[in-house]
Structure formats: structure tokens, C-alpha cells
Symmetry: C2
Subunit: 445 residues, 2 copies
Amino acid sequence: MPETKQITTRVLPGFMELLPAGQIQFERMRSTIQASFERFGFIPLVTPVIERSEVLLSKAGGETEKQIYRFTKGENDLALRFDLTVPVARYVSEHFNQLTFPFRRYAIGTVYRGERPQKGRFREFYQCDIDIIGLGELSLVNDAEILSVIYTTFVNLALPDFTVRINNRKVLNGLFAGLGVGELAVDIMRMIDKREKIGDEAFLGSLAELGLSAGVVARLSDFVQIRGSNAEVIAGLQAMGIQNELFEAGVRDLAEVTRAVEYLGVPLKNFAIDLSIARGLDYYTGTVYETILNDHPEFGSICSGGRYDNLAEQYIDQKLPGVGISIGLTRLFDQLSDAGLIEPGPATVTRVLVAPMIPDLKIPLEIASCLREAGVPTEVYLEAARLKKMLNYANKLGVPYAVIVGEDEIKEGQYSLKNMLTGEQAKVTVEQLIDRVKNIPDSDI
Amino acid sequence: MPETKQITTRVLPGFMELLPAGQIQFERMRSTIQASFERFGFIPLVTPVIERSEVLLSKAGGETEKQIYRFTKGENDLALRFDLTVPVARYVSEHFNQLTFPFRRYAIGTVYRGERPQKGRFREFYQCDIDIIGLGELSLVNDAEILSVIYTTFVNLALPDFTVRINNRKVLNGLFAGLGVGELAVDIMRMIDKREKIGDEAFLGSLAELGLSAGVVARLSDFVQIRGSNAEVIAGLQAMGIQNELFEAGVRDLAEVTRAVEYLGVPLKNFAIDLSIARGLDYYTGTVYETILNDHPEFGSICSGGRYDNLAEQYIDQKLPGVGISIGLTRLFDQLSDAGLIEPGPATVTRVLVAPMIPDLKIPLEIASCLREAGVPTEVYLEAARLKKMLNYANKLGVPYAVIVGEDEIKEGQYSLKNMLTGEQAKVTVEQLIDRVKNIPDSDI
């Protein structure tokens, strides 16, 4: 049937699809993130991939709206979610009366954006989000907890040296107001966001282009260059002598959040106030976060978020302040892979391959069942083949152990356990076999 | 802004969305299924939700094609996957040279069918699939392994009394051929599939309507009524005296598969040959499975599948025989919930709520970090509130323990641990606290 073979069987461009070894590592990252989130009492929340377009479009804008996957089915105007924030806002509004606040949820799922496919940009990608949503109010210590979650998650992921940078939008907005340029806040914020990318000179030039006076530009330049320990940065901010309530509140907030972060045991080397972080999104109103791998600043922020005043004002007449972050897992995995930061691993979860040397599979299958009952992922090589082919299969997949079951072994009640990495071989009973292969940490394989 | 409040913020009909307690139980089922699959060496495989329409439509037909979510984005004719089988066929074809066979994969993900929404029918639902795909050939013992996976999975899910029913399409097709009615095989099979639903009389009537002779109808009636132990059923089949090679091969296959299932330790009470199972899908060619909750036959089959000759003939010139099954998790969860078979559980994963009675949160946050480091999901009540409100929060969510941290407790270094279920309260050090709350099985809470 030559025509049917003409079907393009390639995955769509912009969609990540992994081979088994990569997929296993991806899943390991995903479950590590999930376990880290649950450690802090966040509960899983799953919402549909498809929503009414009017729900999604009520929050989308600009680029996002262009990128949205939208279609009709029957009479319904539908779209695929482009983030996990709009769905949680819809969820909280819809189920408001059945939820307990503060509501702590995580969501790990795919979102869809029809971006131009290019290296590092995906049209389907996993986001791993947490949010704490309060009713009416939400204590500032939650902002510290969120930072502690980021820290714990990246430690558990065994990622190299990273820094969570935090800032506070009140400090920025208060500063602009205090300097009399509040109406340009959004533009100035955008320039501050770009500063790291464009460099100091272009940054100062761009401020001047906004029509700011030399004096204001100098103050802003001083501001973004305040450096040092958290205590020093806070002292530096206080020393600026800005007479603005919002600014002062922001500085107090930063001090309170960083103090609570220390209480939570996050090492000082893993977080820092960085006054040059603004996070473009309009709805952040307080703390904002970015996370940088110190040796890979080119990754950009691998975990970002912030505090917002009201999650779902477009859906419900309740004030729902919150704070949350998001990890773009698909992109992060892609970047880590490209940078060689993901160790190559096995293409299987199997720990033991049972290799039968006899046509009657009674004993090999029984041994496999014993291992499985003991929690050891086990396969039996079920096709007729020579031992060499079976061991070759184990080697190709990266199965760490093979158990050879032949007539002699069955008579003796002792089976040959072969360590596929070292080639070592030993005769063991089934009990010894289970003991030997059971509690081996991944790193020892 | 009254207009913006007009947005319909309800989840779309036909889409399951759970409240926290339900979601936690759903996730527990999902991870139990996943762990069960991995125990047998199946590896995770994730493919995109969106595929090219031509890929999906090459296998779809009839109802499925009408139900498909299809749309264009730019120049691409796209669709949402309606099962996980077509994607794995596309994946194996595309990555054929990088895979090792037999290829054992599981996939747990959502699929989409625009069915008319009705009770128990979902437009987005989770399927949990496993398949073993051979290259050129695949030993029959794999069919037994698949049954062992079904058994293990449902035991791990702690589902009530269930039976995996198996049959073999060769027996059916060989029987029809042997009776000289091979050209009506598909129609007869459809009637056999319906027999349980429509009853014996209607079944026999429908066979007569197909134009079958009274003699053939009598033989078919005898056939579907063969009962007894697996050995008895096989003896009954042999005693029918059907002179047909396919039939004989099918009977041999059934005998071999059921023997291997016994070797794998599946209790006889949990599986049975059932000659009335056909499974409509055309591509099954050997073993077929259905799984029934014995006390809830109205659920229908909760896990079905079978053996097929060729997974991906429409995509690749390789013979890829396989055997696999699928659990429709969303539907199963819905049915179990309706039948009251899902125990109500907490609306949180949190095991301990730290309740601070003091404004300085240093010690409460430190205690929380200790608990989290020890692996105990922990929350701190961070809003200013009285103890009563905090304990009320714990009660509403179903948090099993609260630790009360006040000035006296801090002085003593002993904190009040309250069992929220029994009301018992004890003074404990942080170390004792961790010991007490750490390794409590869920069932003891």
C-alpha cells in the first residue's frame, strides 16, 4: 500500500518528544518537582486542557492571543489553555464555595502556544505551578514559603548552583512615584527588565529616551546598582531617602520576606534581593521572583513568579490575593540536556532481566513474580533466544542485573546473578537475589 | 465591571473536574497504576496531545472520526488524539531505529472525543495503556504477562473482587470457519459481544436473522455456554470436534496463556476463559481481555485489550505484533465514586499543621522545615488568627495532626501535638514529633 505509507509520521515541529532514556529522566524530574510541592502541603489540581475561548481570552492579550489554539466543535468556541493560571482562576471562581482558604494548589500539565517553532521554544510544554490563594488577605510570610519551595525543589532536582532573586514591585512603583515619574512606571520597568540583556549604557540611554531628566536617570542608575547582602541592600534602599509610602512599605516587605526565608533555612548563598527584577506581567503587585543557574545565566530565569492582588477579578466578586511561581519544565529539560547537565541514563526502568535458558518458563516466571512483589521492576526475556542476545538486550536498555535460569540452576536452587555493569557473577537463592537487587540507590547502578 | 462578570466560568460539559479530595484520590489511583506498570518493566512514554490529522485519521473511522477535535493552525491540519494507540504506532514508526524490541511502554494521558455529553461519557478522559510490541514476532507468554499486569494493578488499587476474562479470536474465527460461516465472522462476533447485554433469547434470534441454519445456531449456542475451570473449558472446546487449524491453534494458545498466567501467580479466582468475549475492534487477532468487577457488572469492562498482528502497518514496512490493554481511568473513577467505592479522604496532602500562637514565626517555620526535611508534608498557618480558627482549617481539610507552638512551648522545647481525629494531645520535642507523624500509613489516619 504505497499511498498509505506517504503519511508524514513525524511529530509536529515545536512539540517535544523524547526517546525512552530521556523520557525516564523527564519523568524523574517531574515526580521530584511534584514531591517537593507536596512536601509543602500543596494539593494537586487538574483542570481540562480545553476551556471556553471566552474564559481564556478574558486574560490573554497581545502575543498570547495570537498564539492561542482556538477552534469550534459543534456550537462551542473552544481553546487550548496557554497557561495554568487562567484555569486556576476559573476553577477557584467556579468552586469557590467548596474550597478552603488559603488554598494551596500545584498543577503540572501541558499548555499550548502556537509560537514560531525555534530552538528552545515549544508549542506544547509542561508548566509546574504552585499558588497560595488567600481570601481577602494573605500574609507576607507566604511569599517566603514560596521561595523556600523553589529552593527545596531545585535542591531535590540536584541542579547546580542556583540563586533565587527576589524583588518587590512596591519598591519599584514607589520609587518611580517618589521620583515623580510614576506615569512612566510600565516603561521604566520594561527597561529595568531588559537591563541585564542590553547592558548598562543602553539601559541609561533608553531611560533618557523616555524623557527622564538626568537627575532621575542618575537616581535610577544608583538604584539598580545597589548591591550586597540582603541587609546591605535594604540599608541601601533606606539610605536613598525616597519619601513615598509605597516605597517604604515595599522595603519593609522585602525585609520581612527575606527574614522569614532565613527562618525557613534557605541558605544565604541561594537567594538574594535583586532590584533589577521587575517581571513584565502587569498583575504582579508585590514580591517577584526569578531563578538563575549561576553558571548558566543564558538559560534565563528557570522559575519565576510573584505576588498578585487579585487572582480572578474577571470572574468573581471576591478579593483573592495570591502568590505563586511557575517552572517551565519542557524548556528547562531541553536547556539542561543541551548543556550536558542531564546524565545519560538507562532506557528502561527495569532493574532485573530474568534470562531463561530452558523452554519451560515456570521457574523464570515465578522468580519474576517474587521480584515484582518485592518491588523490583523486573522483566523476563520471553522470546526464544540465546543467552548472548538476552544479555545484549539488557545492555542496550541499561538493565543493571540479569538472572540466568538454566537447568543446573533450578536443580541447585541457586541462580546466576550477573551485574551487567561490572560483569561480576554470583550464585544466589531467590531470597538473596531480592536482597541484592532491592534497595540499590539509582546512583550505584 | 458587570460585563466582565458575565463570562461563563463553568468547566465545559463532558469534562471531569474534581474537588481537592477527589483529585487527591484520582492522583493516588493514577500513581498506583503507574507504579504497577513500572513493576513489570514498562517505560513511560509521552507523546503530544496534538497530532497531524492525517496521522490520526489513518486509523480512525466511523464514530471516532465524527468525534475527533480537528482544527487548523496556520497551514497545519491538526487534531487532538482520541486514543493512545495511534500515537504509539506513530512514535514507534518514527523512532524505529532508536528503539529496542520487544518495546514495553506505558502511557497515561488524556484523550479527546467530542461525544454527546451524558453520564459516564467524557470528552476528555485519561487512558492508562500498556503495550508490548515485538519486532517480527512476539511470544505468547507476553499475553500472560499482560494479564498478570492487569491483576497486579487492580490488586494494588484495592479494587473489590474482579475477574479478568480472556478469550482468543483464533478460537472464534476458527469456529466460524469450521462451521462454514466464516464470511459472517464480524457480524457473529458483534452478536457474541452483545449477548450478555441482550440475553440468550435475543442472541439466538439475532443469529437466525443473520441467515444461519438452525444447526449452526445450535453449535454457536453450545459454544458460548461452555463453562467451568480453564481446563474444563479447554476440554470442552476440544470436545466440540471442530476441524479447523485456526480453531485448534486458538485452543492451544488459550491453554498456553492460561498456564503461564498460573505460573505468574495470578489466583484462579481472578481470571477465567470466557468464550463470549470478542472485543469488537477489527485489529485484535489472538488473545482478548475484559475485566469485570464481579459485584458491579453494570460498570462493563474496566480494562480491555488484546493481541494484534501489526501495530503500525499504515506507517512502516515492519511487522510489529503486539499485545496491550487500556484502563479508562476517568470513567472508572466516576463509576467507583458513584457506587460509593471510593472512601472519602482528606482535601489535602498535608500531614501536620503548625499552629503558631506567637507573632514571631521563627520557631514555627523552623519546625516546619524540620518536618519537611524528614519527608512530612507540612503547612504553617500563616495568617493572624485564633487557635480555634487554625484547628478548624485543619479539620475542614482533614489534616491529621496539628502542632501548637506558643511561648510556653518554646521555653520548654516541647510542643503540643494534637491528633485531630481523636483529640488526643501530647507534649513532644521536635525529634519526637517527627517520629510520631512520620511513618503513619494512610489507613491509620
